[in-house]
């Protein structure tokens, strides 16, 4: 379990982390999202000691992350594998050499049969059996990230930290990497912390997520709760896709479909039962891991406002008027 308590950090006069507190449970995939500059990468770097923090406390399974105590920090870093946006593989080492590198840092004999089996097992896990001796420049972005993932697991860490790991990849490749991370989480029981600005990542794999805004945690919870009907303006603007395109006349009502209710034909019922005209001016279906969540925006006449709202409430549908 990772506990972050009231962590603060400044670069010169700029405070990038303004008292962050989070708790990451074992075996979960925890997302840290926000726009660039929100402090999410800095937080991750503080977490594994690449960057010292000014005050507060970070503990990993009870052990304090303290960049001044180098020996203790090394032990902690061994327990936290890390992958990066730019992959950060050694250009002159092949796939095998890159994956075996962390073992060398820890004085493990990489020529022993045990080490070899281990590296080959990792190569199988990430599906690069045919690239064992390829150099990074012969690999695609997705393949490079797979090597990086295997490398991050070489020391059997209980934690895997991902710093914008899919931001440099196209959507199709991203899906493959996310599926791999999920597999690692499920089959190996590894706790994964994902820092990202990509909604798809959060939606596809995170069980819980913290939204960072200007160095503070603005909201925390399951992604479907936070992003289907965000209460905070900052999250709405992070998700920004509607408002600017909505009609300026009439009333815009956003209707949410969560879980089972997304299968009920509420809208057609409403048209029939109320005999009112309205237009659907925006709609979206989103996958959150196994579930589908939908929302759409209806534009109704000002005078129909109350009837429509009453009908929706009666049908037990979540809705809100967009001002």
């Amino acid at each position: 379990m990772i506990e972050i308590k009231n962590v603060r950090k400044s670069f010169q006069d700029l405070e990038v982390l303004k008292g962050i507190s989070l708790a990451i449970e074992d075996r979960e995939i925890y997302g840290i999202v926000g726009q660039s500059g929100a402090g999410k990468s800095t937080l991750l770097r503080c977490l594994n000691g690449l960057e010292p923090y000014d005050s507060g406390e970070i503990t990993v399974d009870g052990a304090l992350v303290n960049s001044r105590d180098k020996a203790a920090l090394r032990q902690l870093q061994k327990r936290m594998g890390m992958i990066f946006q730019s992959f950060n593989l050694l250009e002159r080492l092949d796939v095998y050499g890159n994956i075996a590198l962390p073992m060398k840092f820890w004085g493990i004999n990489t020529r022993s049969q045990e080490s070899r089996d281990k590296v080959h097992e990792l190569i199988r896990l990430v599906g690069l059996e045919d690239k064992v001796h390829a150099k990074p420049r012969e690999l695609s972005g997705g393949q490079k990230q797979r090597v990086a993932i295997a490398r991050a697991l070489a020391l059997d860490p209980p934690f895997l930290l991902c710093d914008e790991a899919t931001s440099a990849l196209d959507p199709e490749i991203t899906k493959g990497i996310l599926a791999l991370l999920q597999k690692i989480n499920r089959e190996m029981g590894i706790t994964i912390v994902v820092v990202t600005h990509q909604m798809e990542v959060v939606k596809q794999i995170c069980s819980r997520v913290a939204f960072l805004y200007h160095g503070s945690v603005l909201a925390e919870g399951p992604p479907e709760e936070m992003f289907i009907k965000p209460a905070q303006k900052e999250i709405q603007s992070f998700l920004r896709d509607k408002s600017e395109r909505l009609p300026k006349t009439g009333v815009n009502i956003q209707v949410f479909f969560v879980g089972e209710s997304s299968k009920e034909p509420v809208i057609t019922q409403m048209a029939r039962e109320l005999g009112k005209d309205f237009s659907i001016c925006w709609a979206k279906l989103e996958d959150f891991r196994e579930n589908v969540y939908g929302s759409l925006v209806l534009n109704v006449d000002e005078m129909d406002r109350e009837t429509v709202c009453r009908f929706l409430t009666a049908k037990n549908v979540t809705w809100e008027v967009l001002e």
Binding site: L73, Q77, M82, F84, E91, R92, L101, F105, A148
Partner: protein
């Protein structure tokens, strides 16, 4: 191996070629070995290094600039007492290795520093994140990842040392350049001038070719 011992042109030039190779080889080897020390200190103490120490970096960097700006011909004369101390005499092929090496050290130190510091900072960070010590990062990341760039730098050094070794003729170093001046220029033997130039061109091309080949194979 006096030039007077052989009188044929081929003999004279072969002797001189040997002297050039001898001077260039030893001054390259010694200056690279010695130059690595300041290059590593600079890399470690640079603002973006593993152990940033500003005063150390600035002072060392300044010293290297000072030594680099010394014209070789002046250095040649200035270090005569030191050469005498090290080699026992101030004149001759072996003696000229001393000023050649001394002038090459600040040059190759700067070249090696540049090569090492071009290492991708992301890779250094990745190594840190796995708990690598600074020495492990220096060896396994900085130095090993820079090998092709280091080779390029050494090629640059060898080629400029071939040029400097011609000047070493002034302290009796001998070599191809010396023959070109003394026979070709001062005694109006155009044939010596032409042959010496061709040999130097071939030599430089060869070094560059070997360097390029190694760069490709190792990167």
């Amino acid at each position: 191996m006096g030039i007077a011992s052989t009188t044929s042109m081929a003999g004279v030039i072969l002797d001189a070629l040997w002297q050039t190779l001898y001077m260039v080889f030893w001054s390259t080897l010694l200056s690279v070995l010695i130059g690595f020390i300041p290059a590593i200190i600079l890399t470690l103490t640079a603002p973006d290094g593993l152990r940033p120490i500003r005063p150390v970096y600035e002072v060392l960097s300044f010293l290297i600039n000072v030594f680099r700006s010394f014209p070789f011909i002046i250095l040649l004369v200035l270090v005569i007492p030191f050469t005498r101390l090290v080699v026992g005499k101030a004149i001759g092929t072996t003696a000229s290795i001393v000023p050649l090496t001394l002038s090459a050290i600040p040059f190759i130190a700067r070249v090696l520093e540049t090569a090492l510091r071009e290492t991708d900072p992301g890779v250094v960070e990745a190594a840190k994140s796995f708990g690598a010590s600074n020495w492990q990062i220096l060896w396994r990341v900085y130095i090993k990842e820079s090998v092709p760039r280091i080779i390029n730098g050494v090629v640059l050094l060898v080629i400029s040392l071939v040029g400097y070794s011609a000047m070493a003729g002034t302290v009796g170093g001998g070599g191809i350049g010396d023959i070109a001046i003394r026979f070709g220029y001062q005694q109006y033997r155009t044939d010596y001038l032409v042959v010496c130039s061709i040999i130097l061109i071939i030599f430089v091309q060869l070094i560059q070719m070997i360097g390029n080949h190694l760069y490709k194979r190792l990167s």
